[in-house]
């Protein structure tokens, strides 16, 4: 079983890296870039086949380590 965890900054939290990337994209001449927010992606390979158990474990992983829930949100996708 494979899982992808995406961690992104919460709305309202300043993202200077995203702003710098946005500025650079504009500098390259890409039109219509209204905003860029930077995040992180984690690809995990999990043993077992119980999707619900995996989801619950991944949530716990996010809360304990993968995300800083003071400033970050997380999303979990599971595929076979």
């Amino acid at each position: 079983m494979k899982a992808r965890v995406t961690v992104t900054l919460k709305a309202g939290v300043l993202d200077p890296q995203g702003q710098a990337i946005e500025g650079s994209l504009k500098g390259l001449g890409f039109p219509g870039v209204a905003s860029v927010r930077q995040g992180k992606v984690f690809d995990l390979v999990l043993e077992g086949t119980d999707v619900e158990a995996a989801r619950s474990q991944l949530t716990s992983m996010c809360e304990k380590l993968l995300a800083n829930t003071v400033i970050e949100n997380f999303a979990i996708e599971i595929s076979n």
């Binding site: 300043l14 200077p16 890296q17 800083n68």
Partner: protein, 222 residues
């Protein structure tokens, strides 16, 4: 005063901290490797600065989840003083011993320079060597020192005198909210700060404004 310094792989300011504690207290701190099962009986636990685990994931995130931090958390709950400087501050926040988050500097640059700090609360064991509102010099060296907390947490910190130091005279090097450079926990026995007081304790450093933090602590502990 008996002290211990926790050593994680990737720290680089541990030697400076050991030297400062030894010179000012007259006793060398116990060194505790992050995999050690036990923490000696001490009055002060210090987590120094550096780049634990190469700043992987988030600064301080991996170190904060190591088993020794459970011991540090237990001691802090029992009133033992805990000081975290720079990466040590990041580790204390990631470990949940202090609130908020330390984000990338607003300039996106690593900042290594001297700043001015205002002593925002001099009525604690850590800061009583200073006077309220005193402006001191202190070096900073970090990439992720931009303190952030939600408005509720911030109001609590400000209302309860839990801001220890603020960047003063327009020297905020990282864009931290309310110019916050260091904060206390609720009981004020845990202090985390980004600047390095251990690097300004004697004439050879070009000043000794950092010394009073350690000597103030010394005056109280046996």
């Amino acid at each position: 005063m008996k002290s211990a310094v926790i050593v994680f792989p990737g720290l680089n300011r541990d030697r400076d901290m050991i030297a400062a504690l030894t010179k000012i207290s007259g006793t060398a701190p116990a060194l505790v490797w992050h995999q050690d099962a036990d923490l000696p009986d001490v009055d002060l636990v210090v987590i120094p600065g550096g780049f634990s685990y190469g700043d992987y994931l988030r600064c301080g995130a991996i170190a904060a989840r190591s088993p020794i931090m459970d011991k540090v958390r237990d001691r802090a709950a029992n009133g033992v003083k805990v000081l975290g400087v720079c990466n040590g501050f990041q580790i204390l926040i990631e470990a949940g011993l202090l609130p908020g988050a330390l984000m990338r500097n607003m300039s996106l640059k690593f900042v290594c320079r001297e700043v001015k700090l205002e002593v925002a609360n001099a009525a604690t064991d850590f800061t009583r060597g200073y006077t309220q509102g005193q402006i001191i010099r202190c070096p900073v060296a970090h990439h992720d020192g931009n303190y952030f907390a939600d408005s509720e947490t911030l109001a609590r910190l400000e209302g309860d005198g839990r801001v220890a130091f603020r960047y003063a005279e327009g020297t905020n090097p990282n864009g931290s909210i309310n110019d916050i450079a260091g904060i206390f926990n609720e009981k004020k026995n845990v202090l985390g700060l980004m600047p390095h007081p251990e690097n300004l304790i004697e004439a050879a450093h070009g000043g000794s404004d950092g010394r009073a933090l350690f000597s103030g602590l010394l005056g109280q502990a046996a």
